[in-house]
Structures are given as C-alpha cells and as structure tokens.
C-alpha cells in the first residue's frame, strides 16, 4: 500500500521562490516580496537542490521575488543542471539582456515566462511600480526570443487593461512570443487593495472574456492565448490538452528563506508552511507532512460546494487550493470563481454532475 501511494504521489516539480526581494513593486503581487535579507545563501540553495533530488523531483520552477536579483543565480542554475534538473523560470524580465539570455540557453533552461501587462510602457510602469520597467522587460523578452527561447508572456488582467487585450496580444505576437497567459488578478498579497477597489474582473466578465478570446481573438492570431480560469468555463476543445491544471498533487515549494510550503502562498499565510530545509528534509515533508497528506486524501474527493459537483473536479483539482484557503481557511472549500458563478446561475449546467 505504501509503495502504491508513493508511486501515485511522486514529487514532480518544486517551485523555488528563490529570492525574497524584487526590483518592482507590482500592485497585484500575490507574494508581496519585501527584501532579500533572509535569502538562502548559495550553500543553502545547493542544500535545497540536493534535497529536491533526494525527494525525487526532476524539475524546478524558479520564481521570486525576482530571481535575477540574486548575484549567484547562474551558479544556482549551473548546480541544478549538474543535478539533471529541468529548469523553468518566471521573471519580470527586466534584468535580462543578451549575455544573460545566452547563458540561460547554454544552461539548457527549458522555458521562461516574462511579465508584460500592456503594450503601453506608461501603463505597465505604473502597474509595476518602476519607470523603465516596460522597456527593460521588452528588451529582456526580445533577448530571450533572439536566443531561441519559446517565450511565454504573462499578463495580469483586470479592469484597467482588459480593454487593451487585443493590442497586447498583437504586441506579444509581434515580439515573437509563443503564448500569452492572462492571469486574472489573484486575491492575495498586494492585490487585496485592488480587490477592495473592485478593479478585478468578476466571473461574468471572465466568462465573456474567454468566449471573446476563443471565438474572436484567437482565430485571428498565431500566438496561443490562455486565460487562466477554471476548466469549467472553457470549451471542451480548449481543455482537452489538460494544460492549466495546478500540480498540487505533484508539487511543493521552497521559499527564499528555506521555508517549505504548499506554494508561494506560504509567504503570506504562515499556517501553510510545512517546515524548513534548514531543519527538515524535503523528502520527509513530502512523504509525511499532515497537510500534504490531507490534500492527497481529500483533493479532489472531498472538494466542497460546486467544486464537489463539477464534472472536471479530478482534472481541475479545485483550481487553486491556496486561494480557497486564503478565502475560507479550508483546503477543501470551493474555488471562489466557480462558487460565485454557481450562485449566480452562471456555472455551465453541462459541467455539473450531481452524482459526483
């Protein structure tokens, strides 16, 4: 029995929020990075990488804060490469120029995503909290594309930039990006201010946006457009490739200070922290931590509200358990978008299964 469980719940990927600081102060940041003062040093990071291998993972997604603020970021990645770890990176792109892009290519980095929220520099800079951020991000994106990366542009989408989506998509396509991922602003970290001001998009607007993207915008563009909303609101032909699912049953996170957490949410919700690599073994946490085991035992089987009735619950896994926990302090609570849609008669009836 033990063997079966370990086989099913193989650790695939570790999200490594490797830097506690950021050179931007994005209005929506769900992590809310403050300072690099408590970052693991290079030896600490190497120890984390050793533990990642020991726990069985072969892939790391490097995020931050802004990972390229670390002076030793290339040494870190070189160490990961030596350990045969596949690397993907999320960055704001502002610190990447041609030399960095070339180095990343040489290190065999699998994929990189860069955040660009608007085709307009002024809008992006205001949103990201730094004059010149857009110029630097676009320069970084161009350097990466020139080096041969299949780049994903990530944009945070809300009331103030949704009307410009077409221009943003055309712009990202013009850059040579392979995909544009649109993240509705999440309700944690600094974004809580945006939520208070009602600047986020409601579920009805998001459903309409998805319909517009799939029926109108996507057919006119080569770049792949991905609006990050639950499968329940996507056409079956769009979701059949299964992308967009949270990897919660096969992932764990390490924060900049060595904290082991479910994901980046651990930076703002302490009770979802599972240990620290300085005192605990990642492998032991992955195999035995009560919160990790609770998720295995209850997701998706015990998902509540509309998530429990959704035909895609095994595929979707309740979208984002961190968001559910943030909203209700329950890991099995329904995802807020889906529940709101259900309560307002907007949840597609064909996606419900009462026997579920």
């Amino acid at each position: 029995m033990d063997t079966i469980e370990k086989k099913i719940f193989k650790l695939n990927t570790v999200y490594f929020y490797i830097c506690g600081g950021c050179n931007l102060t994005c209005r929506h940041c769900w992590i809310k990075p403050e300072s690099a003062a408590h970052d693991l040093d290079l030896e600490g990071v190497k120890e984390a990488v050793d533990q990642i291998k020991e726990a069985g993972a072969n892939a790391v997604k490097i995020s931050g804060g802004e990972p390229f603020l670390r002076k030793d970021i290339f040494q870190v990645m070189e160490y990961m490469r030596q350990k045969d770890i596949k690397i993907t990176i999320e960055t704001n792109g502002t610190l990447i120029k041609d030399p960095e892009a070339n180095q990343l290519k040489k290190l065999g980095v699998k994929s990189i995503s860069v955040s660009i929220d608007s085709p307009d520099a002024l809008f992006h800079d205001k949103f990201r909290g730094l004059n010149g951020a857009w110029d630097a991000a676009v320069r970084g994106a161009k350097a990466l594309i020139k080096t041969g990366f299949s780049l994903q542009v990530i944009a945070s989408i809300y009331h103030k930039n949704v009307a410009d989506l077409q221009r943003l998509a055309v712009f990202a396509e013009g850059l040579g990006a392979s995909s544009l991922k649109l993240n509705p602003i999440s309700c944690t970290g600094r974004a809580e201010e945006l939520i208070k001001n009602e600047e986020f998009l409601g579920i009805k607007e998001l459903i309409n946006l998805e319909n517009y993207i799939q029926s109108d915008l996507q057919p006119r563009l080569k770049i792949r457009l991905i609006l990050d909303i639950p499968f329940a609101f996507k056409k079956i032909s769009v979701i059949r490739n299964n992308r967009g699912r949270c990897g919660i049953l096969g992932m764990i996170s390490i924060l900049y200070d060595g904290t082991i957490s479910l994901c980046g949410i651990g930076a703002t919700i302490g009770e979802l922290n599972l240990g620290n690599i300085k005192a605990d073994r990642l492998k032991d946490v992955w195999e035995n931590n009560p919160i990790v085991n609770f998720i295995r035992e209850n997701i998706p089987a015990k998902l509540e509200g509309v998530c429990g009735k959704c035909i895609f619950k095994r595929l979707c896994l309740g979208k984002c358990r961190a968001a559910a926990y943030h909203d209700s302090r329950s890991l099995t609570a329904p995802f807020f978008m889906c529940q709101e849609a259900y309560e307002n008669g907007l949840f597609p009836q064909t996606r419900l299964y009462q026997g579920g």
Partner: protein, 88 residues
C-alpha cells in the same frame, strides 16, 4: 443476430453546441466528440447494431460511400471500446 452496441456503466453524454463529450463518473475519463460522434453514441444503447447505426447515419448525414462509412464507424467504435466507453 448481429451484436447490439451498448455503452458501459453510467457514461454521461454532454452536448454543448457544436461540441460534445462523454464523461465516465467512475474514472472521470472524458472523451471529446463531434456532432456525428454524439449521434452515434446515442445509438449505442443496446438496441442498435452496426448496420442500424449506418442506416441511421445515412438518413441524418451526407455520408461518403457505404464502405467508407462502415470503416469510419468501425474505427470510432474501436476507439470507444479501447477507452472503455462501450462493450465489445
């Protein structure tokens, strides 16, 4: 007598405009269908044989040759069987 085609268990068909899919509650497996697939699926009710389905398809759609239609149907049913949605 020719075998009738029958679905397995409590498979659910969901039709959404021009798209449709099958959902197996036991395994959560999902299979995407087009309109013709959905039409065929509805005839996999234990009351229709392959010949019945071909005849129904002829009435409903502009089919290629009988031979092509039989070949396409055989392929489709084979996929459904392999995915565990119908019995042999």
């Amino acid at each position: 007598m020719e075998n009738k085609i029958k679905s397995v268990g409590d498979i659910v068909l969901r039709e959404e405009g021009e798209e449709a899919f099958l959902f197996d509650p036991a395994s959560s497996k999902i299979k995407v269908l087009n309109n013709t697939g959905a039409f065929i699926w509805k005839l996999c009710d234990g009351k229709h044989s392959r010949d019945d389905i071909i005849n129904a398809l002829k009435e409903e759609f502009n089919l290629p040759s009988q031979e092509e239609a039989e070949k396409d149907l055989a392929k489709f049913l084979e996929t459904l069987q392999k995915d565990g949605f119908i019995n042999a």
